[in-house]
Each structure stands twice: as C-alpha cells, then as structure tokens.
C-alpha cells in the first residue's frame, strides 16, 4: 500500500507519510534550505535520487541507498561534449525516470536527454536528439531555455520512449534513444502565427503521462488545452474541460486509461485558479466529461498553481497528492473527489512522488 509521498520544494525535500487513514504528516526532511527540483525512487532497488538546483553552484544530483538516511553526491548530465561559441551548459534536471532495470533517464534544460546505466556515476547524452535540425527550433517555455519535462518509458518495451519538451513537441524513440522522430500529429498551437500552428517543433506540451497498464494511452496537458492519444502517440485528439482546459499538470490512472486528472487555471498569461477557486477535474470516460471536485480545496482567494510534476497518483489509482506554488500540499484518498491538507506553509512545491517503503 502506497503510504509515502516525497515532496521536492524550493527549500528542501520532505518525506510525507500516512499515519492513519486521512492523517498524513511530515515525517522527515532532507536538504533543508536547498532547492530540490526533482526526486525519484528506483522501484527496482529502492534507491532515491534528488536533484538540487543550487543557485550558485549549479545542478547537483544526490543518491541515497538507505532510504534517505545518507546521501551521496553523484555526477550530473554534462554538455561538455558540445562545443562552439556560446556552448551550452546544464541549467536544470527537469525530469528523471527509470527505464529498463538499471537505467536512469534525465531530461534537462537547455534540452538534452541523458541516460545513465551506472546509477548516476556517468551520463550519456542522446546525441541524435540534440543534433536533430528540428531541435534547434525549440524555444523556452516555463524557463528561458527549452527543457524536457516528461519521459515515458513503455512498460512493455523499455526501448520505446516518449519525451515531451516545453517548447519542442513530443518525440518518440523505438530504439532506446538512438533515433528520434516527432509524434505531434493532431496537436496545434493557437497562439502561433499562421502556418506555424501545427509545427511539431514548437508545440508546448506542459506535461505528458502514459497509462501503465494500457501504455498506448497518453494524456497531455498542452499549452493549448487537453489532448489524448490512444494509439501510442500516432495521433492526438483534443478534448475540452470546464471551467478551463488550461493548466500545467496531468495524472493518469495506472489501470484505467480513460481516467485522468487535471488542475485547471485561467488561460493563459494570468495563471491562477479560475475565480480564485482551486479545483481538480477528473474524466473517467476518456475526456467526454470532466466532473470537478473542490472538497477540501480553497474556494476563495486561492492563487495556487500546480506545476507539471506536482500532481501524482499512486499505483492503485486511489490516492493522489498535489502541491502548489504557494506551499500547500493536499492528499486525496478517494480518487481526487475529496482532499485533505497536509500543510499550508511548505516552500513552493516543484514535484511530488508516491514511493514504496
């Protein structure tokens, strides 16, 4: 039973545990005062990884072999192999996922995808993606430089990887990262000039998730709305939610591909909950309807924004965790229908993850 959530924040990593049903609390804290951008548990060996975005000293990656009692700094992805004037350097680890057993993936700013097969001791850049001419069209979205925020490794075949980029579209590899092609058919960007609305390389998928037990099913919160693919990203179709289809995050039920959760916000330059009321929408019919849920969430003067990685669902699809830019953290134990606050005064939340004991 999933009863732990790791919460990466601007001022530390928090280990949240369920004491009793409906009762969650901060159990432990790590890296207090340091910005923790992303956290990951390797489900195969239970290793924890936490990336620190040190404002002065750059991105650092820490690894714990004993469930957070001790942490060791390991290597970070490097752009040293890319030369030329104004050569790039690592700005941030925006996403981390486990692929095949023993394989870590890291999506970074300014746009490199990296793989490690030695638990973070060394990293290899996916050069074919970086060298793709379309990659040069990527632009910043969320940050000044483009970044890879979503990495979906197919549970049936770890060689099949889908990544999403703000702003650089969706890319698919079927050979463990050796070659890549865009997978954006059906996506469109309302805000682009005529002739550019369907350009694969400028799409801004804010977040893409894949259904674990039905992996041809993907959900996307795009800058331009909500999209879904049921055929392994061959094609995307747009659906509409009330009160808004704008947002940053999405979570998909691990077993039910028609079920996904979103956190709507005002579109799009003024980002806060519609009418200052924070809600979560959930579809259970593949996007035909989106009932919204407000129980336990602030219904007046809420300016909480939930970033890309700050909504998570557990492996059974029952518990959800959600953290906001204003330091609120909520847990739902009934599929998002009702929420209970865990803290109102955490630092700004960057990522939440359910992990196994």
């Amino acid at each position: 039973m999933a009863n732990r959530v790791l919460v990466a924040t601007r001022k530390g990593l928090f280990d949240i545990r369920q004491r009793d049903p409906g009762n969650w609390a901060i159990h432990d804290r790590h890296f207090l005062g340091e910005p923790v951008g992303m956290v990951l548990q390797d489900p195969y060996d239970k290793t924890l990884y936490a990336s620190l975005e040190l404002g002065h000293f750059g991105t650092k990656l820490h690894r714990s072999d004993d469930d957070g009692m001790h942490w060791e700094e390991v290597s970070v992805p490097s752009y040293a192999s890319i030369d030329g004037d104004d050569a790039p350097s690592l700005k941030m680890i925006w996403s981390m996922e486990v692929g095949a057993p023993g394989t870590l993936w890291a999506g970074t700013l300014p746009g490199g995808l990296f793989r490690s097969t030695d638990r973070g001791a060394t990293w290899e850049m996916m050069r074919s993606l970086w060298d793709d001419p379309l990659r040069k069209q990527w632009v910043g979205g969320g940050y000044d430089e483009p970044g890879i925020h979503s990495i979906c490794v197919d549970p049936r075949d770890a060689n099949r990887i889908v990544i999403a980029v703000s702003c650089g579209g969706v890319w698919l590899s079927e050979d463990n990262g050796s070659s890549w092609r865009t997978a954006t058919k059906g996506l469109w960007a309302d805000y682009m000039p005529p002739g550019q609305k369907e350009n694969p390389a400028i799409q801004d998928p804010h977040r893409v998730v894949q259904c674990r037990d039905a992996p041809d099913n993907f959900w996307m919160q795009h800058h331009n709305g909500i999209f879904r693919s049921t055929d392994g990203c061959v094609e995307w179709g747009q659906v509409s939610a009330h009160p808004s289809s704008f947002g940053f995050t999405v979570a998909v039920h691990p077993q039910q591909p028609d079920t996904a959760w979103f956190v709507p916000a005002v579109k799009d330059e003024k980002r806060y909950p519609v009418d200052g009321k924070l809600i979560v929408t959930r579809t259970q019919d593949g996007g035909k309807t989106f009932p919204s849920f407000a129980t336990g969430l602030p219904q007046q003067e809420s300016y909480d924004l939930v970033y890309r990685h700050s909504l998570a669902v557990d492996e059974r699809g029952e518990y959800l965790a959600m953290g906001s830019t204003t330091g609120n953290l909520w847990i739902s134990e009934n599929g998002g229908e009702a929420w209970r606050e865990v803290s109102n005064h955490l630092p700004p939340v960057y990522a939440v993850r359910f992990i196994k004991d």
Binding site: F57, G58, A87
Partner: protein, 89 residues
Amino acid sequence: MANIVCAQRFGDVGPLEPAAYQGETVQDVLDAAAMDYPRLKNYVLDDQGRVRKHVAIFVGGAMQPRETVLDNSLGPKDEIYIMQALSGG
C-alpha cells in the same frame, strides 16, 4: 604556489582554510586543489569550464572578471578566495 580558500557555503566541497597549491594561474591552482577536493571544480565552473555566473573569485583581495580570472597569473603571495555571489531569497 598560492593559497586557495572557499567561503563557508562550500562546506566540504573545498578548503575553508587557506591551503597552498602549486600553479602559475588560477586555473592551475584550481586543478591542483581538485586533486584533494574532487567536487570543487564542478561547483566553481560549469560543464564548459567557465566560471559560474553566480560565483565570485577574488585574487589578492580584488574581485576578478569571471571571463578572464582563470588565466590570471599568480604571485607567490597571492590568495585566491572563492565565494558565492549574494543573491536569492
């Protein structure tokens, strides 16, 4: 030979008390210190070997331009002081 010392914020990443290392330039001394402090260069320099934007290096008590400081020639009494720029909240 020159002394190198880091601000407290570096913790165990670099020498917090003046430590002497051989070298004719700041880069040389940093390379030498990195033999004892293998994480130091990754904190001071980015992955292209440039001084990080929010790191300041003083030589002989004067802050040096980050674009050229690594090539600064050092006198025998010079001390290299590395600190984080003051920013953030």
